[in-house]
């Protein structure tokens, strides 16, 4: 069973994304509402997520900053991160791709194909 960590400051988006992944792919979900909380959740040795789906624009630490901090932490640096952004400008996309994340997906996402898009980005076959 895959475990996915969703980090987003919007309660509604966390809930919808979680429902979508559970209902369409049967994945297990943990959520966090900020970058700092997300790092703590990812570092939990008992529930280490297989992948992280993270919002870009968050108050406090934004997505890219959180990602860089995760890269500094050997316990979580290997977990693939997919950014979920409402920014669609080309400049932003190139900036995100330059970070070394596993993928960038865009809001508003399609709840029926979100899991498939994540699997594609990560090369998951199942």
């Amino acid at each position: 069973m895959r475990l996915i960590l969703i980090i987003d400051d919007e309660d509604d988006i966390r809930e919808v994304a979680a429902l979508s992944l559970e209902a369409t792919a049967g994945w297990e979900i943990v959520t966090a509402s900020s970058g700092a909380e997300g790092i703590r959740a990812a570092a939990n040795p008992n529930r280490r997520p297989h992948a992280i789906l993270m919002d870009v624009m968050m108050p406090g630490m934004d997505g890219p900053t959180t990602f860089r901090q995760m890269q500094q932490n050997p316990a979580i640096a290997a977990i693939p991160v997919i950014l979920l952004t409402a920014k669609v400008q080309g400049v932003d996309q190139r900036r995100f791709a330059g970070l070394g994340v596993a993928g960038v997906l865009f809001k508003p996402f399609d709840p029926l194909t979100l899991a498939a898009q994540i699997s594609d980005a990560l090369g998951w076959k199942d």
Partner: protein, 587 residues
């Protein structure tokens, strides 16, 4: 015999009379001169005021543009966030993934869901257009096959066509090697799928939509022919405007955004091509035409070989002068990618010093084994509004200095190029900010290539009346001027795409449109929007219409007053004035 005193008196009287007349005439002439001088001074003052007003207006407009860009970008981001929750919730519910709902509720969910999709498309389209208009979506050109792109679009759209019981048919007439052109494939796919999706929406079930590809040496032609209800003649141009649909209920019934064709036109124009709609001749329905240059204008400065290996050297040394370091960095980076070497200057003063020094060094140091030669400056990109020396003053000083006078200058300014004659006669090129990378490269390439040349003028006559056209053509041919003739709007567009004329003579009445739509089209072409224009028309033209018809330098000739045989003389005089602006009096 006349007595002597009378004779003396008579002579005296005569000379007094003559003298008086002379004095009177002199007085009147000096009054007239004074009057003319006053008029000149007044005209000068007014034109200075106009320029000042124009300058303020433009500065305000560019500030407004920046605010508008940021606003649109922020709003679209802020709208996306709540839409993400709405789309997610509705999508999960209406797909029945969280349990079944009854039929009425299901229908309401479907309505909410499909309208959410429509709102998302609308936001994406608005953002797309905004990015293209502001030049922030440069084309990624590479060699493409129009056939492959069309086939891919057909494959993408087949599902939608099947749902509507419509057949898509692809016909490719040219030989396999005549279908390649330079383009941004993603953007062309966007246009093709958009045109097909429109055609499907407006076609009756059971009909066939035909996609036809044709080509000649210079251009590719793609047609999308549908058998739908057709577009009324007065809407053929308007459908390319934003939020213009043939029937106001179309956007809700057909699920469109009203921006699709505006986006298509924007993309095709970025490629230096043209797109237009025509009613079918052989039955109901509409044909959408796309014409693309095979060696796209945009690619003149960036042929595919350069794109394959982006960093080449040796295109020339360009001096970029702008007080905004951000603009300098962007321009320098784009030009370096295309093989230009760059020097930067942050002010007019710096530019002049740098240009003089570089030209002096280039003149002094011959190429030796130890030292690479110092290259002379091939061209200057110059901003107009700068603190200290303005662009106009800088240009003046460059042209006064013998060492720098011959360097071609391209103005890079928020002022539109239509104002160029008014403002800077000595610049060889003009690119408006916010600029499109391809336009900048094409304009720079053109200016560097044509440096010092003043080839014979090439005139395009657009006139539907054959006899009249014959008379005008004869006049020019006698004078040894190269002149082409187009008798329809379509032909005029074709000719312009094959090579920009130096001047156009335009009749307003054309069999397949009018002069206004041609001028409108010309205005949207980066390399044609400053084309000198002579409107030769038999109908009365109001001031408002004149404003609509103005391109570059524009003159209006009335067919009732000017004979066809006189057109040649008047036009050649205009060409002469354009080439030698100094010969014209101030007023």
């Amino acid at each position: 015999m006349i007595p002597l005193p009378s004779l003396v008196f008579g002579l005296l009287l005569l000379s007094l009379f003559l003298l008086g007349g002379l004095t009177l005439r002199l007085a009147s002439r000096s009054r007239q001169q004074k009057h003319e001088l006053e008029q000149l001074a007044e005209a000068l003052r007014r034109s200075q005021e106009d320029a000042e007003q124009q300058k303020n207006k433009l500065a305000r407009r560019s500030d407004l543009d920046i605010v508008k860009d940021e606003f649109i970008s922020t709003v679209s981001h802020e709208l996306r966030t709540p839409l993400t929750s709405i789309r997610g919730a509705l999508g999960l519910l209406s797909a029945g993934l969280l349990g079944n709902v009854d039929a009425k509720a299901q229908n309401l969910l479907r309505i909410a869901s499909s309208n959410t999709e429509r709102l998302i498309r609308l936001i994406n389209d608005i953002l797309d257009l905004e990015r293209m208009d502001s030049g922030r979506a440069p084309l990624k050109l590479r060699r493409c096959s129009i056939y492959d792109l069309a086939r891919e679009s057909v494959e993408t759209m087949t599902a939608m066509a099947d749902d509507a019981s419509i057949r898509l048919e692809l016909v490719c007439l040219p030989a396999r090697d005549a279908i390649y052109f330079d383009a941004d494939p993603d953007r062309i796919l966007q246009v093709l799928t958009n045109l097909m999706s429109n055609a499907i929406k407006f076609s009756p079930a059971g009909s066939t939509i035909s996609i036809q590809i044709d080509s000649d040496i210079n251009s590719l032609l793609l047609k999308v022919v549908d058998r739908g209800r057709g577009i009324p003649p007065d809407k053929l141009e308007a459908v390319f405007d934003r939020f213009q649909q043939v029937e106001s209920s179309d956007s809700s019934k057909k699920g469109g955004t009203g921006l699709g064709l505006a986006i298509c036109r924007s993309i095709i124009q970025q490629h230096g091509g043209a797109i237009w709609a025509q009613p079918n001749q052989d039955g109901p329905g509409t044909t959408l035409w796309v014409q693309l240059s095979r060696s796209a204008r945009a690619s003149d400065a960036a042929p595919s070989s350069l794109i394959a290996s982006p960093v080449q050297r040796g295109e020339g040394l360009i001096l970029v002068c702008d007080d905004d370091p951000g603009i300098r960095v962007v321009v320098a980076e784009q030009l370096r990618q295309r093989g230009y070497d760059i020097l930067e200057a942050g002010s007019g003063e710096e530019l002049i010093a740098l240009a003089k020094e570089q030209m002096a060094q280039a003149a002094q140091t011959p190429s030796t084994k130890e030292h690479a030669p110092v290259s002379p400056i091939s061209g200057i990109l110059l901003d107009l509004y700068m603190p200290g020396l303005s662009g106009w003053e800088t240009l003046q000083k460059l042209k006064e200095e013998p060492a720098t006078a011959a360097i071609p200058v391209v103005i890079l300014s928020v002022i539109p190029p239509t104002e160029r004659t008014l403002l800077a006669g000595e610049a060889q090129g003009w690119v408006q900010k916010p600029f499109n990378e391809n336009v900048l490269l094409a304009e720079l390439g053109r200016v560097l290539r044509t440096k010092g040349e003043e080839g014979p003028g090439h005139i395009l006559l657009v006139e539907q009346e054959p006899k009249l056209a014959q008379a005008i053509l004869a006049g020019f041919e006698e004078a040894g001027v190269r002149i082409d003739h187009a008798s329809t709007l379509q032909q005029a567009v074709d000719r312009c795409l094959r090579g920009a004329p130096d001047l156009m003579i335009l009749d307003l009445t054309l069999p397949d449109g009018d002069g206004f739509s041609l001028v409108d089209w010309l205005r949207r072409q980066p390399t044609l929007r400053t084309l000198p224009l002579v409107v030769y028309s038999g109908r009365e033209i109001s001031d408002a219409e004149m404003a609509k018809l103005r391109l570059g330098p524009t003159e209006f000739l009335d067919k009732a007053k000017v004979q066809p045989t006189e057109v040649e003389q008047l036009v050649l005089a205009m060409v002469h004035r354009l080439r030698h602006p100094a010969a014209e009096p101030v007023a």
